[in-house]
């Protein structure tokens, strides 16, 4: 379409406002049509194609990938003494425990386990723990009338074990704490092989 130098004025006049009869810009039309075509194709594909996927499908796939990233090497861990002791000195896997701790535990137990609302875990006194496996039990089921929540629905079993290992590893740091010494001093953790 040829553009004349001065576009045509329509004989519209509203309170002095006039209107040109300019055509709509070509690029505007093209982009508008492109978005419409894209939308139709997108909708048909995601609603009706057997090759499409839902957001939930994508999520489930990412869960599998994530578990593999995290735990492919170690498989499913058992919350027994040997396992918790073993990982309490394993730098790499302690990181997983530290990470889980940082996500869920620091609001009560402090950034480094020094204790805020929940007890200090860097000294030798423990409230609900007599043996190293008790740590995993307390994480799983909670303790102290709900003061310590149960995490069994929220954490992967491996995360429970590795968090227990991480907490066990905090012992002996004796960080300064806002909390008094709570519970009883218990025997040291068993030694790993």
């Amino acid at each position: 379409m040829s553009q004349s130098a001065e576009p045509m004025l329509l004989d519209h006049n509203y309170d002095g406002i006039q209107e040109y009869d300019n055509p709509t810009p070509g690029w505007w039309w093209m982009l508008f049509h492109a978005t419409v075509v894209f939308s139709i194709v997108y909708f048909l594909f995601f609603q009706f194609s057997p090759d499409s996927w839902t957001l939930k499908d994508a999520y489930n796939a990412s869960v599998v990938v994530d578990l593999r990233k995290q735990f492919a090497e170690i498989g499913e861990l058992k919350a027994d003494e040997a396992t918790i002791v073993k990982y309490s000195t394993d730098k790499k896997w302690l990181e997983v425990g530290r990470n889980t701790f940082a996500t869920n535990c620091v609001s009560c137990h402090g950034r480094d386990g020094e204790g805020v609302v929940g007890p200090n875990m860097t000294d030798d006194a423990y409230k609900n723990v007599k043996t190293i496996t008790d740590i995993a039990t307390v994480i799983t089921n909670g303790a102290a009338n709900g003061a310590m929540p149960a995490w069994k629905n929220r954490l992967h079993p491996n995360e429970v074990v590795l968090t227990a290992s991480y907490i066990a590893s905090l012992r002996g740091k004796n960080l300064p704490s806002a909390r008094p010494v709570e519970g009883d001093v218990i025997p040291p953790w068993p030694k790993g092989n």
Binding site: Y14, E19, D21, V63, G146, A150
Partner: protein, 769 residues
């Protein structure tokens, strides 16, 4: 195309007024007093709204800035800020522009001076009512629709007064055709009424308390159908109408393209309605709706830009004026921000982009680009253009107007850039997962603490914007002081409209090359003579607008409510106990939803941080839903059992005692104020009317609530806390928080795999029994 044929087809074929009886003239005077009233209130409310905004912005950077005063705590003040900015400032700006332009475009005084005054005073009283009820915690808990039911009814009534006044004026007009600005005014009038009424449907549960008739996913759907279209039909269409009047007036140039205005008007009106569910990507809202929301948003890009093009291209031949005329400066930047926001909006509605931007400050950047840049600058430009005309004098200072422009522009840029940075930064921190599949920022507070510098920069940007407004206030007062002792009231004259006898003739085809007949037919259609006919038939025009918005709405609303599989019920999800319900009321009253979402999305970084993603069946008893739209604090959808009662108690008393970097206000009053146990029974009964299956609770809601509160208070003591919280508000709120997200696990899920589907039973439709 030949020049002559263009002239021929563009000739208006209705030729009734040109008849000899045109000698009979009518005289009339415009009502500019009402325009002055609305303009002053626009100026008052923009000061109030932006100052409230500055205070909430500072409270995020410095939580102590709330001084522990309940009335200005973030959760209560933020709705006041948004309501003041949208309904008080933008609302009055719209009314200013409409009352001025409509009379002139119709060559008629407003239909009724009484209705004009009723509209003015009614609207200001509504704003005052909002300013009194929101800080005192009376809210329906739905964003941008927080006002409680008596005020909602008042809004509907005042809107009807406004509509009668506008349509009355159109009915007695002396201009045959309605200019494009009026089309946009009509779209605003019709659609805002529909949105407001259907989203606000609620059952009263007290003088200033009600529960939405919708629950959970359906309430979320209705809320964002409303919320998004409040942006569309309160902040976009009326301002486009203002642009179409004031831009060509100020530039003294014709509008760029009449045809473009037709196309972009109808595509906007039809498509905007569908886009709401883009606020609900990755949530428990059905995925087909979210897909439609995204696609219609993408398709809205060009219709939105159509308005922008028509605005900016109208300046062709007048660009030199922009350099010295502050009015045009404001308009040019305003329209530019409109185009930027309407590109950003479709981009953010793409699901994968939204996965990053949702719940972050990116959204805050987006809305402020629109609100400050588009609504603000169009309003300011309009005010500077109107002031000399309304006060019948010269503007006191062009220099100060230019200063306002630069302060405002720099303010917006500082604001928007800091919030973009904050939003994208936090979004990336939330999703950061290292090569071993672990969250890189596992402690939520770290992602908040990281933003504090940006919050200060944002507050600075806001302060600059407000400084510009203060300059405007001074300029306006000085201009007003030089007004004449008595305003002139010029008398205009125009012939009355005669009944239109002629029907628009079908224009000849412009195609000169030989083509099949259908091409000629299409070309005649494309010349839009049919639309020219609608423009002189306001009723027909309004009906088509209504058809467009109603049909578009029903396409999404009907399936949402009727298809049973949209919300599969979960057998283990049961109604809140009476105490938890009371706690939920406190959660809503304090505006917790302004900072905390209750909607975990199916994204790996999110389920790692907060737990299993939220299911639609989990919020079936949530009248209203509380999914939230921003995560200043962590998501609370699975908060139940995450912390001890005692932790919550200490945290409410002073969040920084347990979490030094927290930006949450201290809620010490919740530990002191007594819960009104007596009102719980009535609330439970209203819930039952709404379909929540209460049974044994009816008649003994208060005893049940007291018993549960005593038990929680006892556990607080056991956990090492102080006694005496049996009857305090905080106990109810703790009860509610400890319930959140726990029902999913009440019947044992498949052991081991946390992402295994929960015990889901057959789908049942809810809400519309």
């Amino acid at each position: 195309m030949s020049l002559t044929s263009t002239v021929a087809v563009s000739k208006d074929r209705v030729s009734t007024e040109s008849a000899p009886q045109a000698a009979r003239m009518e005289t009339f005077v415009y009502d500019d007093a009402i325009v002055r009233m609305f303009m002053w209130m626009t100026i008052v409310w923009v000061v109030v709204g932006t100052l409230a905004g500055l205070l909430v912005a500072i409270e995020l950077a410095l939580p102590e800035a709330g001084l522990g005063i309940p009335y200005i705590a973030f959760g209560r003040l933020r709705p006041l800020h948004t309501n003041a900015a949208i309904f008080a400032f933008a609302g009055n700006a719209i009314f200013t522009g409409i009352y001025y332009s409509l009379q002139r475009l119709c060559k008629a005084r407003m239909f009724s001076d009484l209705l004009s005054r009723l509209h003015f005073w009614g609207w200001q009283l509504i704003i005052v009512a909002a300013a009194l009820t929101l800080p005192t915690g009376h809210t329906s808990g739905k964003e941008y629709a927080e006002l409680e039911w008596p005020i909602d009814i008042a809004i509907a009534l005042v809107w009807v007064v406004f509509a009668v006044n506008v349509f009355g004026t159109i009915a007695v007009r002396r201009e045959r055709h309605m200019y494009v600005a009026i089309w946009f005014y009509i779209a605003t009038l019709v659609t805002v009424a529909m949105l407001h009424i259907f989203n606000s449907l609620a059952l009263p549960a007290g003088a200033l308390k009600s529960y939405s008739v919708y629950a959970g996913a359906q309430d979320a759907f209705m809320q964002w159908w409303y919320g998004h279209n409040a942006v569309a039909f309160f902040l976009t269409t009326p301002f486009l109408g203002l642009m179409y009047y004031f831009m060509p007036k100020a530039a003294e140039r014709p509008v760029f393209s009449y045809r473009l205005s037709i196309i972009h008007f109808w595509s906007l009106v039809f498509m905007y309605i569908w886009a709401g569910p883009h606020h609900l990507h990755y949530t428990a809202c059905p995925e087909w709706a979210s897909t439609l929301g995204m696609l219609f948003s993408v398709m809205l890009w060009m219709p939105s830009w159509g308005g922008g093009i028509n605005g900016l291209m109208t300046l062709r031949g007048a660009w030199h004026k922009v350099s010295y005329d502050p009015v045009l400066k404001f308009f040019v930047v305003g329209v530019t921000f409109y185009m930027m926001s309407t590109f950003e909006g479709p981009m953010m509605s793409v699901k994968s982009v939204n996965a990053l931007s949702h719940y972050t400050d990116w959204t805050i950047a987006h809305v402020h680009g629109g609100a400050l840049g588009w609504n603000g600058f169009i309003s300011f430009g309009m005010i500077y253009w109107l002031a000399p005309r309304l006060f019948q004098t010269k503007l006191y200072s062009q220099k100060l107007a230019n200063m306002h422009f630069w302060l405002g522009l720099v303010g917006i840029l500082v604001y928007v850039v800091s919030m973009w940075t904050a939003g994208i930064t936090q979004g990336l921190m939330w999703r950061g997962i290292d090569e071993n599949g672990r969250l890189m920022w596992p402690d939520f507070i770290e992602t908040v603490a990281h933003l504090i510098p940006y919050y200060w920069i944002r507050a600075l940007g806001g302060a600059l914007f407000i400084a510009g407004i203060v300059v405007m206030v001074y300029n306006m007062v000085r201009t007003w002081q030089t007004r004449p002792a008595k305003y002139e009231e010029p008398v205009y004259e125009a012939p009355p409209l005669m009944a239109a006898r002629a029907v628009e003739a079908l224009p000849p085809s412009r195609i000169r090359t030989p083509v099949v007949n259908i091409a000629h037919k299409y070309d005649r259609f494309a010349q839009a003579a049919w639309h020219r006919r609608w423009e002189r038939l306001p009723l027909v025009f309004s009906v088509w607008v209504a058809v467009a918005v109603v049909v578009a709405s029903l396409f999404e609303i009907l399936p949402t409510f009727l298809i049973r599989s949209n919300v599969p019920t979960i057998a283990s999800v049961t109604p809140y106990t009476p105490l938890e319900l009371a706690g939920r009321d406190i959660y809503i009253a304090e505006g917790c939803y302004n900072c905390h979402s209750q909607m975990i999305r199916p994204l790996i970084a999110e389920t790692k941080r907060f737990g299993e993603y939220s299911k639609p069946g989990e919020s079936v008893y949530d009248h209203p839903f509380q999914w939230g739209s921003r995560r200043i604090g962590p998501d609370l959808a699975r908060e139940g059992g995450r912390q001890s009662h005692l932790w919550h108690l200490l945290h409410f008393k002073n969040p920084r005692e347990v979490n030094p970097k927290s930006v949450m206000p201290a809620y010490s009053w919740l530990l002191k104020e007594t819960l009104d146990f007596g009102s719980i029974e009535a609330h439970v009964r209203v819930m039952k009317k709404l379909g929540v299956p209460y049974d044994k609770e009816i008649g003994q809601a208060e005893q049940l609530a007291r018993a549960q509160a005593a038990e929680i208070a006892r556990q607080i003591v056991e956990q090492g806390g102080e006694p005496g919280y049996d009857d305090k508000k905080v106990t109810a709120l703790i009860a509610y928080l400890q319930r959140l997200g726990t029902d999913l696990y009440k019947t044992p899920p498949t052991p081991g795999e946390p992402s295994a589907p929960p015990a889901t039973t057959q789908p049942v439709a809810m809400g519309n029994k």
